[in-house]
């Protein structure tokens, strides 16, 4: 890169030289830390993504050296390219923080907040965003939006109520597969991810929609309700895969592989393979190779994100030794006892009794099979 192609940009009073064509968000990520705006819809590996969620809005206080006028509105940093001499305010701008708090509130308005039963909990970007920019309370007092359920086949679970309409999964299907069968239907506050008529997503690369989903709207059915991500230990591994690079992260407990994902960087995006291509993985690697023997383990993977999955547990050398016993060994041949089978409609122990239909508080008697108490 020649000298002429470098642009000087100052973000939150930190100056950096970046190649022309770099976006403000990418420049901010190079600086790192708090200076990098949160991004819920932008995904650097997906062409055309970004601009929609409005969480990465920043204030451009100086347009460029040539035209120093500030930009009249906050701009989406993911879709704004830097100009030479540009000055940007992110966390140093009251306006930005105010707008961002507004966006977080909007995103959470209809979100079910069902983190306790959501597989994404612990690695959810919306959790991170709410933690950093949201308020503990909501001012929304109306019924939250719900959708009809759509089955996307045996591998992928769709929870539309959790979706923030980032469009990433649509771009993924467009750019990674030859035939897209899901899309955005309807418009406005009723827009939803769906296939219109029940169709399963079965392209061999479609599993990547799970990795790009910033929330728990698209989750891995083979991992559903199996474990919390923070109890698992991420290990880099690879296999000789005829379809994809075969470079993955295994999420293990002892020797048991609970789930397989692509390798993600600190921004939650798919890492590039050594040959510089995005390391998307195929469905076989993701859903079918669930034995340690399927893989060549490279070593523990450090997760450097703010989420709970990165909290101490996996950082540095802590926790890199395997637990002595696997779950199988602990259980000593017994099958695990199902304490609670959580469905979307709350059913506790007895599927015939719906908690929602019980008048007043429930107690032990409610679930006693021998009693005649009417629910």
């Amino acid at each position: 890169m020649s000298e002429q192609n470098l642009f000087k940009v100052t973000i939150d009073n930190i100056t950096i030289d970046v190649p022309a064509g770099t976006t403000v968000l990418q420049a901010a990520r190079l600086i790192g830390g708090q200076v990098a705006p949160p991004a819920m819809c932008f995904y650097s590996k997906l062409e055309g993504s970004g601009g929609k969620c409005r969480t990465c809005l920043v204030e451009v206080s100086k347009g460029s050296e040539k035209d120093p006028r500030p930009m009249p509105k906050l701009v989406a940093s993911c879709r704004t390219t830097v100009m030479d001499g540009m000055e940007v305010k992110n966390i140093t701008s009251e306006k930005v923080l105010d707008a961002r708090a507004g966006v977080v509130e909007f995103l959470l308005l209809n979100h079910p907040l069902d983190c306790p039963i959501c597989d994404q909990a612990g690695e959810c970007h919306l959790q991170d965003l709410s933690f950093e920019h949201g308020k503990a309370d909501t001012r929304y007092e109306f019924q939250r939006r719900t959708f009809k359920k759509h089955d996307l086949g045996k591998h992928i679970q769709l929870h539309m109520t959790r979706c923030i309409l980032c469009y990433r999964c649509v771009y993924t299907a467009d750019q990674l597969t030859n035939k897209r069968v899901h899309g955005i239907l309807d418009r406005g506050d009723h827009a939803e991810i769906a296939t219109h008529i029940e169709k399963s997503l079965d392209n061999e690369f479609i599993g990547n929609v799970i990795d790009v989903c910033p929330v728990g709207a698209l989750t891995d059915k083979t991992f559903r309700f199996k474990n919390r991500v923070w109890f698992l230990k991420p290990m880099d591994a690879h296999r000789d895969c005829p379809t994809c690079s075969g470079r993955v992260t295994l999420w293990n407990r002892g020797d048991e592989v609970y789930r397989v994902t692509a390798r993600k960087d600190q921004w939650g995006e798919i890492e590039d393979t050594p040959d510089g291509k995005p390391g998307w993985i195929c469905n076989v690697c993701r859903f079918d190779k669930k034995e340690t023997s399927d893989w060549i383990i490279e070593g523990p993977r450090e997760i450097s994100r703010q989420s709970v999955i990165a909290q101490g547990h996996y950082a540095g050398n802590i926790g890199t030794t395997k637990p002595n016993e696997t779950f199988k060994a602990v259980n000593d041949g017994r099958t695990p006892h199902l304490l609670m089978d959580i469905h979307d409609e709350s059913e506790v122990n007895q599927p015939t009794i719906h908690l929602g239909k019980i008048q007043g508080p429930s107690h032990g008697d409610t679930f006693n099979t021998n009693n005649t108490h009417k629910a």
Binding site: R180, V181, H182, G183, L185, D186, R187, T195, H196, I197
Partner: protein, 165 residues
């Protein structure tokens, strides 16, 4: 059910597609869906949308995405005549609420419903660009403007007559 355009309809589709450059036939999607909706039962069943996708050489999901976005495309069965009554600001201040209530009473249906005989559907819509001639509604291709209760009566009678004869 499968759908097929007849020769006239197919010629019209080809005329629509020819307006756009080579390879940009997807641009004809909106006009093509209008044609499809008007040619058959006034709404767009999945099979019909698939047929259009096939004709325009695009994926069915691209058609579903578009059809569900635009309010003029009906994705559920409708009556023979749809009363699309405007309820936005200028019509509201000119008394559209009364007109809507009156139509509901006359036809004994709620917004979004179709009469039992399948003749009329009542649909509440947002501004149709006839604010100076409010209150108004659209029936098929035309606008019925300056609505009064008497006018609604005669419009209903007018359309009913076309069915019974």
């Amino acid at each position: 059910m499968t759908y097929t355009f007849n020769d006239t309809q197919m010629a019209e589709l080809n005329r629509l597609v020819a307006r756009y450059p080579e390879g940009k036939q997807k641009s004809a999607l909106l006009p093509a869906l209008h044609l499809a909706q008007d040619s058959f039962d006034g709404w767009l069943p999945t099979e019909l949308m698939d047929y259009i996708a096939n004709l325009l050489k695009i994926e069915p999901i691209e058609v579903y995405e578009v059809a569900s976005f635009y309010s003029m495309f009906n994705l559920k069965p409708v009556g023979k005549f749809i009363f699309e009554v405007c309820q936005t600001g200028p019509c509201m201040i000119s008394g559209s609420d009364d007109i809507i209530a009156y139509i509901q009473e006359k036809l004994d249906i709620k917004p979004g419903e179709t009469t039992k005989d399948g003749v009329f559907t009542l649909k509440l819509v947002e501004c149709l660009g006839a604010c100076g001639y409010a209150p108004m509604m659209q029936v098929g291709k035309i606008f019925r403007e300056h609505l009064t209760k008497e006018k609604v009566d005669s419009i209903i009678a007018e359309y009913r007559a076309t069915v019974t004869n």
